[in-house]
């Protein structure tokens, strides 16, 4: 094995990504608890208590209500999150279907009465800043892809670190931390211990984070692939001037999604549907299937549903990458474990940086130290 080559790969892949990874770990920490913090920081609305069997209002009523609140806008999506926001319907509106994300606003309506619960202003606040830094550095798609590349470098750094772990530990017991010799040695041993113990978690979070940065591209692939193929018969027709009832579209779609829960409805012409169809997205109810979506396309003027097709593998991969990156699928204890592992990753990054900054010997000497089974070479 070429220890020198792996040492250089570990050094350079780490050096390039470390500062960005530190930023990602620090901004990611509050995002793990975003739901709890939203509750605390941004007096989140709640739907008033009503008898449990109060039925949901017609979606046509809800969409009327949303449109009259923001005259001139169009609805892009309606979505639901019954677990965290019971009886609330979120309605995303924008001046046009292809308007920029910054121009979109999301209203919160009471699903049973249509009452307006909240009309948030332009996005802002602590959590929004953390979110934007974490996702795209306020730089849109290029920022997102850049961070994805940093995530891949992080994965390379982890793998090369594991390769170097083998020769380094040849003369040391697992978990050895040599404290009495020098602070460099102590941090080197801790860097190796913390790194190797958190290996799988860091790999999974790094890799799924990098996959998540591809989400705009994945959506584009789906639009031009499966969505275009399913709606090929409509390609030549102009977009309908009048679209039909969204409640009827939901009723029609529900017939082919028995036992599933409503997750999102995409309006015709929006990002997640064709110009001619409502895209009605359902989810399952286990932790796993609640992350996987099943779309049903409903002709927005004629009212019939197209034969549903399962989403392609690359969309499913993206959907599954989200919980594995967020750590939000196993209750509060899992979030706390996620946060502690995140902090340990910060220690690994900083100790790595310290070992590089505090270097007093040549790379050749360090390669020798690794080859020597972690024993410092004699001068």
């Amino acid at each position: 094995m070429n220890v020198k080559l792996w040492f250089l790969i570990h050094k350079w892949s780490s050096l390039v990504c470390t500062l960005f990874l530190l930023m990602l770990c620090i901004t990611g920490l509050p995002l793990i608890f975003h739901h709890e913090l939203e509750h605390l920081l941004e007096d989140e609305v709640e739907a008033p208590a009503m008898p449990a069997d109060t039925p949901m209002a017609s979606l046509d009523v809800l969409s009327e209500r949303a449109l009259s609140t923001r005259p001139g806008d169009v609805i892009r999506f309606m979505f639901w999150d019954e677990e965290d926001h019971p009886h609330q319907t979120f309605v995303s509106l924008a001046p046009t279907q292809d308007a920029k994300a910054e121009q979109a606003r999301t209203l919160v309506l009471d699903s049973r009465t249509g009452d307006l619960l909240d009309e948030p202003g332009p996005p802002g606040g602590f959590l929004y800043i953390m979110f934007k830094l974490h996702v795209d550095l306020f730089a849109g798609l290029p920022g997102m892809l850049f961070l994805g590349f940093m995530g891949l470098l992080f994965v390379v750094a982890i793998i090369s670190g594991v390769v170097l772990y083998a020769p380094f530990m040849r003369k040391l017991d697992f978990g050895t931390v040599r404290r009495e010799r020098s602070s460099r040695l102590q941090w080197l041993d801790l860097h190796n211990l913390l790194g190797v113990v958190t290996l799988v978690w860091a790999l999974v979070v790094g890799l799924t984070g990098a996959i998540n940065t591809l989400s705009p591209i994945v959506v584009g692939l789906w639009q031009q692939g499966q969505l275009a193929a399913m709606t090929a018969d409509y390609a030549e027709r102009p977009a309908p001037e009048q679209i039909g009832s969204v409640q009827q579209a939901l009723d029609t779609a529900s017939a082919s999604a028995e036992g599933m829960h409503l997750s999102l409805i995409a309006w015709p012409g929006s990002q997640f549907s064709s110009p001619h169809h409502y895209g009605v997205f359902f989810r399952g109810d286990t932790p796993l299937t609640s992350r996987l979506l099943q779309p049903v396309l409903v002709d927005a003027s004629a009212g019939h549903a197209l034969e549903p097709e399962a989403l392609p593998w690359y969309v499913q991969t993206l959907l599954l990458s989200q919980p594995l990156h967020f750590g939000d699928y196993g209750g509060m204890p899992l979030k706390v474990i996620w946060a502690l592992l995140d902090i340990i990753t910060i220690v690994v990054l900083i100790s790595g940086l310290y070992l590089w900054l505090g270097r007093r010997t040549s790379a050749a000497r360090r390669v020798e130290e690794i080859n020597n089974g972690g024993q410092e070479a004699q001068p």
């Binding site: 594991v162 772990y165 083998a166 530990m169 040849r170 003369k171 040391l172 017991d173 697992f174 978990g175 050895t176 931390v177 040599r178 404290r179 009495e180 041993d189 801790l190 211990l193 913390l194 190797v196 113990v197 958190t198 290996l199 799988v200 978690w201 999974v204 286990t286 932790p287 796993l288 919980p323 594995l324 699928y329 196993g330 209750g331 204890p333 899992l334 474990i337 502690l340 592992l341 340990i344 089974g373 024993q375």
Partner: protein
């Protein structure tokens, strides 16, 4: 430190065990609730205990 060099298996058996526990922890909570959540916390949390144990040991 004078013992003979460790084999690859000796170096990697502990990290491998922790890797398997981490994977069980990551997957368990994804495929179910209740007991599987508990399994997930214990399996993934074991990595934290290992770190706490070796970090707090007076000397290695």
């Amino acid at each position: 430190m004078s013992r003979s060099p460790r084999t690859l298996w000796q170096v990697f058996r502990a990290p491998l065990l922790l890797a398997v526990l981490s994977m069980i922890g990551l997957v368990a909570a994804l495929i179910g609730d209740g007991l599987l959540d508990l399994l997930s916390w214990l399996a993934l949390g074991s990595t934290l205990l290992v770190i706490a144990w070796y970090w707090s040991r007076p000397s290695g």
